[in-house]
């Protein structure tokens, strides 16, 4: 397994948000996390990337224990987290935003190749290449965030609700690009999404969270076959 999360808890101050979450992501696999508001989806991702404290449980990545590591250490190991709210650097240009993603890389020509790939994947970013991050629309900022995360050349891309706040057609475009990214690079993904139909266009398996616990997991086909899941997350 590339990433193995087992029985973790996490809390903001005294408010425990995650009580018992387990999930795993194989090499090159794409896993979804489904759940209602407040189920602990975002916190699970933040626990993995080291932006929230994880008092108990284990998180191993490439066989290494990463629980308790700082976000910059986790990033250096090959996990790129596209945070909720897109993490835009508002006063940096689109180009600079992308280059921040490649901050730890030394292979100059590889970086240029990857920037060219992202600009081809998201033609909007090419048009806005010299604009400040703050001047971009929500969809463009999401594309930039994905591009920035990809430029770190991660083994695992962690996406926190890429469709949040986007018009349905834009959300679809973003997911089409994510699918292409996965197809062309074979990068492993962990995707939080409220809109399960969108998530299922990318992931192979998914985990369902309820009030801070992982209660169910299975392939997308299995989950589609589950009446309760269908009612709760797939719109009938």
């Amino acid at each position: 397994m590339l990433l193995e999360v087992s029985g973790i808890t996490a809390a903001y101050g005294s408010v425990q948000v995650i009580e018992n979450v387990s999930l795993s992501v194989g090499e090159g696999a794409a896993v979804g996390i489904l759940g209602a508001n407040g189920a602990g989806k975002t916190t699970t991702l933040r626990a993995i990337s080291g932006t929230v404290r994880v008092p108990s449980g284990t998180i191993t990545f490439k066989g290494q224990d990463i629980r308790g590591k700082r976000p910059e250490e986790v990033a250096a190991l090959g996990i790129s987290h596209v945070p909720e709210g897109r993490g835009t650097l508002p006063n940096l240009t689109v180009e600079e935003n992308l280059r921040v993603g490649a901050y730890l890389r030394k292979d100059r020509s590889g970086i240029e190749t990857d920037i060219a790939f992202i600009l081809e994947l998201f033609p909007n970013l090419k048009r806005r290449f010299t604009s400040n991050g703050s001047a971009l629309s929500g969809g463009e900022q999401q594309m930039m965030a994905i591009g920035r995360a990809f430029l770190a050349k991660p083994t695992l891309l962690v996406l926190d609700e890429p469709s949040l706040g986007l018009a349905p057609s834009t959300a679809k475009d973003v997911y089409a690009a994510i699918s292409r990214l996965r197809l062309e690079t074979g990068i492993a993904m962990l995707v939080v999404e409220q809109n399960a139909n969108l998530a299922f266009s990318v992931v192979d398996t998914a985990v369902v969270l309820e009030t801070g616990r992982s209660v169910l997991s299975g392939s997308t086909a299995e989950l589609r076959g589950n009446d309760e899941i269908r009612r709760a997350y797939l719109g009938g």
Binding site: E72, H81, P83, V100, Y103
Partner: protein
């Protein structure tokens, strides 16, 4: 001297005075670029660095003046880099994630603390600062007296400005510094070591400020309150020039000093006493017309 000669002389003197404002303004821009914060203690830190440099340099001066001054400058710059990094790590870091206003007040507290500490250690008297040459040396070009000190100061500041601009726009470290200032959380997710960047930013700014401190002390002698009035001009320059632009800050600082000089002499109703109001009138007008500063980039905050 005819009035054109006076005019040119005033401009030349203004550029020299403005260079000192510019140096402090540059240090303030640097901290702002790296941490998004205005550091009111910047002048105090510069003076502290100068005192440390002087104390160590004076040990060598009896042996060799030039060597002593050089040692003093190097020690001052190195010590202030360390002090800047230390203050970030052990004072400012504790306010991380808090209100911006709290941090600004903390820097004002630091200013008071540093000025007081300097007074306790070195006293409040003016102390002559040894320098490479006699700072009253001047030469005359086409009837205009140019002080060697003014020229040195001006050229040093222009060079430092160019280096800073290159650092911010052309180097990876510059990108890291700006990224951390803009969105620390996101920068960390990209693997940038946020804490280290903040320390480097504060250290660089302190070192830069100290160079200004030494240049000023060489001319005006060393005193704990050396930068108190200059801070006001530097802040005006930073705001007029745009907080995000090293070149803007320098141009604004030079402009303020020159205008102040000219207004004091050519507008009798301003004279020497009202001179200090000039930068503020300028500031007022510019904030009305161009709130992001003359050279600054507009920053948009979306909620």
């Amino acid at each position: 001297m005819n009035s054109f000669g006076t005019f040119v002389q005033l401009v030349v003197d203004g550029l020299a005075q403005g260079s000192i404002y510019a140096a402090l303004a540059l240090a303030i821009v640097l901290v702002h670029q790296a941490t998004g914060l205005i550091n009111f203690a910047q002048g105090g830190m510069a003076v502290l660095g100068s005192y440390i440099g002087m104390t160590v340099g004076n040990l060598v001066v009896p042996v060799n003046l030039i060597l002593g001054v050089l040692v003093g400058v190097i020690v001052a710059v190195a010590a202030s880099f360390a002090i800047g990094a230390f203050i970030e790590r052990f004072v400012m870091r504790r306010f991380q994630g808090g209100e911006e206003d709290t941090k600004v007040v903390a820097t004002i507290g630091l200013l008071t603390l540093i000025t007081g500490a300097i007074g306790m250690i070195w006293g409040f008297n003016f102390i002559p600062y040894p320098f490479f040459f006699n700072t009253s040396t001047s030469f005359t070009v086409a009837g205009i007296a140019i002080s060697l000190w003014s020229l040195t100061t001006f050229l040093t500041i222009v060079a430092l400005m160019a280096v800073l601009q290159l650092l911010f726009t052309k180097t990876k470290m510059g990108l890291g510094l700006r990224a951390v200032a803009d969105n620390p959380g996101s920068s960390a997710l990209s693997g940038i070591r946020v804490g280290r960047m903040l320390m480097v930013g504060w250290g660089l700014a302190a070192a830069l400020g100290t160079i200004a401190g030494i240049l000023l002390a060489a001319k005006a002698q060393l005193n704990p309150g050396n930068f108190d009035a200059i801070l006001v001009y530097a802040l005006a320059a930073v705001i007029i020039g745009g907080l995000s632009s090293p070149i803007g800050a320098v141009v604004a600082a030079l402009g303020i000093a020159v205008l102040e000089n000219l207004a004091g002499t050519f507008l009798p109703w301003i004279g020497h006493d009202l001179k200090i109001a000039v930068p503020f009138v300028l500031l007022f007008v510019i904030l009305l017309l161009r709130p992001q500063g003359l050279f600054g980039r507009k920053s948009v905050v979306r909620v």
